[in-house]
Symmetry: C2
Subunit: 162 residues, 2 copies
Amino acid sequence: MRWENLDQEPCSLSRTLSVVGDRWTLIVLRDCFLGVRRFDDFEARLGVTRHVLADRLKKLVNAGVLEKRPYQERPRREEYRLTEKGRDLYPVILSLVHWGDRHMADEAGPPIRHRHRACGAYTRGILTCAECGEELHPHDVEVEESPAWTGQLLPPKKAIDR
Amino acid sequence: MRWENLDQEPCSLSRTLSVVGDRWTLIVLRDCFLGVRRFDDFEARLGVTRHVLADRLKKLVNAGVLEKRPYQERPRREEYRLTEKGRDLYPVILSLVHWGDRHMADEAGPPIRHRHRACGAYTRGILTCAECGEELHPHDVEVEESPAWTGQLLPPKKAIDR
DNA sequence: ACAGGTAAGTTCCGAAACAGAACCTAGGGG
DNA sequence: CCCCTAGGTTCTGTTTCGGAACTTACCTGT
């Protein structure tokens, strides 16, 4: 399979990665959540080449994750802002950050702390069940085909049974 | 900057992506959480070339996310299993899946449902504050440099202020 | 009028990564 | 002896990436 067909797969994870699974894309989005909006600011902070940055921004705009908005005319300049679809990626970003905090930090510890305004505490995000509020762990969650897709998905059962 | 130096960056997200930010790596991990353990099963389900699959599995083992375990001798065969470090990526996977369910599904809806054994409901994971239990949104979270890193991080302030 | 600066890209080239297919290794089964 | 299985490695051509220079369309100062 080629990477460019990933958005056709019957798998929400593959489809998500067809948008944000490229090299640099999630790092661009990290900076969006930090308030960066302009081309040259992205470039200065990211260390990515202008070529790749232009490509990633264009793809994110086409995917509806960012939108381009003029902030001045003559000369026309535009900035990039998260759409609601983009802001919905926040749990993804925060989960990735938290894993890095826990498993990839060096002696100095994680570089960034997150304070939750509502309760005032330094916090981390945890994944909880939208129905009962308990924390979700892999073995508490049973995966099943949704009825509309029955029989069209590749079952991993052979692998699980043995 | 080159992609290979990403694990040195003072940013937990970059460091996480140095492990799982490659093309295909998160899709390999999706299958790990579905119970797939063997080389040929990954290949059949993923549609990735054997070359790339071998490379990703090796990198994940080196990163401590998967471990290789013999399941028979003569001929020796080994399977890949998630370590605890790997299982800690569950929130990342589930957040990506949920975003795809919401924003990338077609008319048939999302292909997979998740049932939470503890409460019996079909559920989704939401990101909540580990301290107060409220759902976390981008604007409720204030980012600050941790004391050990003060002054060593690139501030996005110029971008935020204007 | 002209030099230099700014913001947001685009173009060009060599290096690295990827896709597809064939090949290899160490055994087992008929 | 031939074919099969599991888990890879090698080979070849196409894409994508990294680094640097160039472009466009204005603005500012002299």
